[in-house]
């Protein structure tokens, strides 16, 4: 399918980009890596009158670490993040999720900010951002605002970004000592969107779980924290019984969709299995890290 006729703007600076967004508002789509937006155009699921291509906007790409936070510019390509030593060392959950996004050729163009602004609830990065309480830096006509991940994802492909705003950066708190992480997913084929995915982060202190974070992909219209399971884990020593209990609590707390890829019942079973696997791997990584 060919793309529909559309105007094209390629601002070189943030202020030019914001001026264009202010002018076109809802009529515009922001084009970053294009790996989701171009198919939406081809399928006529998005019909903007103008594309605002932010690939040339200076200062929007790159990974940096300051004051215990890792900041990732919105147009940082997924393969660049995948190869980043800073991310591998400081945000291992993100590093584990990145290679699972689509395929190599998709990650050549796809951007971290683009995936998080597209907000597909089955995608990997939204679950990671939700698990780690990432901060979303948004620029608009009134300046900058910072949105916590809990408020960023509002619904299916819907975020709290206003039509005249631009996501410019996403910040992740660097993993604390004693933290282990795991990204698990079950997909029909390698590279497909997961039927269920799970981002897990566990922090251990003297053999006790002091912080547990579990965020599902693919079980609702936004990435979903398994809060009941998290509360149950905190203060416990990591055992197979505790993991099984957390898995039951997590599965009981979700109401996943049924579609041709899997029934809701099947997804709940997969979710429980992923919680057990994710906790096992995350705790194993935490213990190895603290040796």
């Amino acid at each position: 399918m060919k793309l529909p006729p559309v105007d094209y703007e390629a601002p070189g600076t943030l202020s030019e980009a914001l001026d264009l967004l202010a002018e076109h508002q809802d009529e515009a789509s922001v084009l970053a890596g294009g790996q989701s937006l171009i198919p939406l155009l081809a399928l006529r699921l998005a019909q903007p009158t103008v594309l605002i291509d932010i690939n040339g906007v200076e200062g929007l790409s790159g990974v940096s670490r300051t004051n215990g936070w890792v900041a990732i510019g919105a147009t940082t390509r997924e393969y660049v993040a995948e190869e980043s030593q800073t991310i591998a060392e400081s945000v291992p959950l993100l590093a584990a999720a990145l290679p699972l996004i689509g395929h190599e050729a998709i990650r050549s163009r796809g951007t971290v900010g683009g995936s998080l602004a597209h907000a597909d609830p089955a995608a990997e990065l939204p679950a990671v951002a939700r698990a780690l309480d990432a901060e979303f830096v948004v620029q608009g006509p009134d300046g900058e605002r910072v949105v916590p991940a809990a408020d960023w994802f509002e619904g299916y492909l819907t975020t709290s970004r206003g039509p005249d705003e631009l996501l410019t950066e996403v910040r992740f708190l660097a993993a604390r000592p004693g933290t282990g992480t795991s990204f698990q997913e079950v997909a029909r084929r390698h590279g497909d969107f997961a039927m269920v995915g799970l981002a897990t982060s566990v922090t251990l202190n003297s053999g006790t779980i002091t912080d547990a974070r579990l965020a599902f992909a693919g079980v609702s219209d936004v990435p979903a924290r398994a809060t009941a399971a998290e509360e149950l884990l905190e203060g416990q020593r990591p055992t197979a019984e505790v993991f099984a209990e957390a898995a039951r609590a997590a599965a009981a707390g979700i109401d996943p969709p049924s579609d041709l890829h899997g029934s809701a019942e099947y997804r709940k079973k997969v979710a429980a299995a992923l919680v057990r696997r994710g906790l096992r791997e995350a705790v194993g990584n935490a213990m190895r890290g603290s040796d």
Binding site: M1, K2, L3, P4, P5, V6, D7, Y8, A10, L31, G34, Q35, I38, P39, L41, A42, L43, L51, D53, N55, Y79, G102, H103, E104, A105, I106, S108, R109, R189, H190, G191
Partner: protein, 162 residues
Amino acid sequence: MPDITLTVNGVTRTGSPEARKTLADFLRDDLSLTGTHLGCEHGVCGACTVILDGRAVRSCLMLAVQAAGSDVTTIEGLGPDGELGELQQAMWDSHSFQCGFCTPGMVMQAAAFLGDHPEAGEPEIREALSGNICRCTGYQSIIDGVLLAVERIREGSARETA
């Protein structure tokens, strides 16, 4: 319509594509490089894969105007002067393909991958090619072809150092 200049297979090319024209359509329709195939036209099948600034990309998932200033290699650029490159010859010898529709995408993806991972093993090659769909072969012959190329590259570099 914006004027763009880019390098395709080592040659400077210019054009004035409509904004909505994908890089794939620009290569095929404006530059007559029809070796790049279009299967699904929404980023699922991998047939349109080309190498852009050293990375495999899907040419149906970017606009031609976005390729301005870039260095693009298509299947036509892999085999200089009509000769087969090493990877292509290995795939030919392995009877990697049948109908040929997925061929350019498979070859370009494999070429990009081998460029970065010349000693890749079967699991890595399978993963690297997992985004390219073939409806004929069952994939084994394609993997065999890439593995043969890896073997020949290794033998070649062993001969050079001997």
